[in-house]
């Protein structure tokens, strides 16, 4: 059948045999899993053998495109890659902007990759002409050099996913980048591609995307676009992107020195904003997006003057600053080096902080550190980025991640590590319990900020505001009563379930996770766009349900790998005071009316699993929930494996 909205086909690539096969889009896949991460999660569940070693040829990578990608639905350009991640053996889905539109123009909704090439190759997709091309000339080159070279060879308009040296060297915190700006990070996708000798994917296409009801589609898309263009802070957003929320980030992202204290650079955020504006060079948008958030920064003077660094957000420019001895130019240099090597900057920074902390505590010796002192300064950080990227000396240990490193340094090392499912948390809940940290704990793949980053990301919301938000997001009335149980307080853990389902449904469609973009979407206009694009009727409720289904199958894939409630654990560190300038900050509830204990947080997780309809004790989906979500096949599989009772 001819699909509208969809490209209508998938691609299977076996790197071991060189076999490449195009397959028609399966209607059951479409009806149950909608598209995007719904497709990739389902295909990953079916394909990835339980227990497989992530860096073995038998692992799969499923790259998908949101259903609305490539159209004029504003800000819908998500590409996603589901695989078994080498940092923690979880099955997870890194997201980024771009690539997905060109993949669809070439005629594919997804690409399934397995095996291992016998030499470095890149996958070239040009409409029906799909081939594996020798990549020996770009192997060893950084991501930016690789992208520029492959663009020169394959046409300046093509879109490219590439890995750097870190991916080639199987560093377990490596990522892949999309067109030099987007990051497919958190968990080691770069190493998975590197283990397959796959340096890059290059795509372009001329087939285009048909739309079932153009008039209705353009009406809804136009309405979303007009409201985005009238975003009151649009002028500031186009330069600063998510950094306009600086005060919030200063609360939840500002912890430094291995989670011991609020970092200096985040204490003075208004001042930092002015510094960021000085290095802003130009903004870059994902296809169809009127709210660009990517930036090229250029250091105009001082150390590394002339350095031009593409960033997925200008906010990341300040991320490496440790203290007064570490300036913005040095931080940009660190970020740029991470991006060039294909290292996840957030995971790298956390690892380096951890290593310095262990050194300062006398747990890592100078000999362990290859004869060098590890201090809270630029020289140490830059040196360790180099070593991690190349797996040299101490970097070879750090390259396997926080948990592997901690085990090398015994009981004292293990005590000081702060990780959730083997990966550093993205945010610190002590200055503001935003929901992102709870969501990070229960996320099947490990800590990831986007699914929990919605209304509660901002402090000071009232129960009334939460209730109104829930109504807009189609949360059932009885659930709203559970969430907004009093006039002054609300249940953050129960709210997260609905935030995640909404995020998941948006990820099926390709709607961006940036708050400024997704706030212009709701289940109603999202469902209308889907229906008018594809011709498949769907209600807003059914779209949310599809999001819940996609979330549950990803969870089930991880339950099959052995993950359960024991892994959804708030780090001990978060129950210790956080040092700030003149005070100590303790973990408190959203309203900051009372301090939270471990028992309080566990009770929150109870509520979360209850709201999900999962087994509270085990923290996993039940037979009933899976069957209610039309996932009987998944329930049967988990029963067969003895994970669920028959």
């Amino acid at each position: 059948m001819e699909f509208k909205g969809y490209a209508g086909a998938g691609l299977r690539v076996d790197l071991s045999t060189g076999n490449i096969r195009k397959e028609p889009l399966d209607l059951d896949l479409v009806k149950r899993f909608v598209g995007g991460s719904g497709f990739t999660n389902k295909l990953a569940y079916d394909l990835i053998p339980p227990g497989v070693e992530p860096l073995s040829p038998e692992n799969f990578v499923v790259i998908g495109s949101g259903v609305l990608s490539g159209t004029l639905a504003p800000g819908c350009t998500k590409v996603m890659a589901t695989t078994k991640l080498p940092i923690n053996n979880a099955i997870g889905t890194p997201f980024a902007g771009g690539f997905s539109h060109r993949l669809k123009y070439a005629g594919y909704d997804y690409v399934i990759i397995t095996g291992r090439a016998d030499r470095p190759v890149y996958l070239k997709i040009m409409d029906d002409d799909v081939s594996l091309v020798d990549a020996s000339h770009v192997w060893g080159k950084d991501i930016f050099e690789t992208t520029d070279l492959l663009r020169t060879e394959n046409g300046i308009d093509c879109s490219i996913i590439a890995i750097g040296k870190a991916g080639e060297n199987l560093v377990r915190i490596s990522l892949a980048m999309v067109d030099k700006f987007g990051t497919l990070g958190r968990g080691g996708l770069g190493a998975v591609l590197g283990s397959k000798n796959l340096k890059a994917l290059v795509v372009n296409g001329t087939k285009g995307i048909g739309i079932a009801d153009i008039v209705e589609f353009m009406k809804v898309a136009g309405s979303v676009r007009e409201r985005m263009l009238n975003f009151p802070l649009r002028k500031e957003w186009l330069k600063l992107g998510v950094a306009i929320g600086g005060m919030i980030f200063s609360k939840i992202m500002g912890t430094g020195k291995n989670w011991a204290e609020l970092s200096a650079q985040f204490q003075d955020f208004p001042g930092q904003t002015q510094e960021l504006l000085k290095i802003f060079q130009s903004g870059y948008a994902c296809p169809s997006c009127p709210l660009n958030c990517r930036a090229l920064v250029r250091l105009k003077d001082g150390e590394y003057a002339g350095l031009a660094a593409p960033t997925s957000s200008i906010l990341h420019s300040i991320y490496f600053e440790q203290n007064d001895s570490f300036n913005l130019n040095q931080s940009v240099k660190c970020l740029d080096l991470c991006n060039r090597y294909g290292l996840d900057a957030f995971a790298t920074k956390a690892l380096i902080d951890y290593a310095i902390d262990l050194y300062q505590a006398g747990i890592i010796t100078k000999e362990d550190a290859d004869g060098q002192e590890l201090n809270w300064d630029f020289t140490t950080v830059l040196n360790l980025i180099e070593k991690i990227g190349h797996r040299e000396g101490l970097g070879g240990i750090l390259a396997d991640g926080l948990i592997a490193t901690s085990k090398k340094f015994g009981k004292l090392g293990i005590e000081r590590v702060v990780a959730i499912k083997g990966l550093n948390p993205f945010v610190d809940p002590r200055a503001h319990l935003s929901g992102c940290e709870l969501s990070s704990c229960v996320n099947p793949r490990g800590p990831y900020i986007s699914p929990g980053a919605a209304i509660s990301f901002f402090p000071g919301k009232t129960a009334q505001q939460i209730a109104e938000y829930c109504q807009k997001m189609l949360v059932p009335e009885e659930a709203i009563k559970r969430i907004c149980y009093s006039d002054t307080e609300f249940n953050l853990a129960r709210l997260i379930k609905y935030e995640e389902d909404c995020y998941s449904s948006y990820s099926c469609l390709g709607i961006c996770a940036r708050g400024a973009v997704k706030s212009y979407y709701n289940p109603h206009n999202a469902a209308k766009l889907y229906a008018s694009a594809t011709g498949f009727d769907i209600t807003a409720i059914k779209l949310q349900e599809a999001g819940e289904r996609a979330w549950n199958i990803l969870k089930a894939a991880n339950v099959r790998e052995g993950f359960a409630r024991k892994d959804d654990r708030f780090p001990d560190k978060f129950f210790e005071p956080l040092k700030a300038k003149d005070k100590e900050i303790r973990l408190m509830n959203y309203n900051r009316s009372r301090e939270l204990t471990r028992d309080d947080v566990e009770k929150m997780f109870d509520d979360y699993y209850d709201e999900r309809g999962w087994d509270i004790e085990k923290g996993i989906p039940t037979n009933k929930k899976l069957e209610d979500l039309d996932l009987k096949d998944v329930a049967a599989d988990l029963q067969k494996r003895g994970i669920l009772s028959q």
């Binding site: 490539g70 159209t71 004029l72 539109h101 123009y105 930016f144 992208t147 520029d148 663009r151 020169t152 300046i156 308009d157 067109d179 030099k180 296409g205 001329t206 087939k207 285009g208 995307i209 048909g210 739309i211 153009i214 353009m218 676009r225 985005m228 263009l229 186009l238 130009s282 903004g283 870059y284 948008a285 994902c286 296809p287 169809s288 997006c289 009127p290 660009n292 090229l296 031009a308 593409p310």
Partner: protein, 84 residues
């Protein structure tokens, strides 16, 4: 520096272009009935490093019979209609 391009009435400001392809998508929908930048009459050419964009028009561009969809759809002010 603003400069006039092939279609006299459209003023192109390359430095304002953010590479969102909205103009191409709007144009291709009119020209081919599909979202397909390769069919658009406006072309967005990236520089080798991907940081700059240059716009040009095919001979097939007729200004949408006066509608100038690319100009109307550009969210970044890179295309401006200049009536003679």
């Amino acid at each position: 520096m603003a400069e006039k391009r092939a279609v006299e009435a459209i003023l192109v400001k390359p430095n304002e272009c953010h590479g969102c392809l909205t103009c191409q998508l709007s144009c291709s929908l009119r020209v081919s009935g599909r979202f397909n930048p390769s069919k658009a009459n406006i072309m967005i050419n990236r520089s080798k490093n991907g940081y700059e964009y240059r716009q040009s028009f095919t001979d097939g561009c007729d200004g949408c019979g006066g509608d100038y969809l690319c100009v109307r759809s550009c969210p970044y002010g890179a295309l401006i209609l200049e009536r003679n």
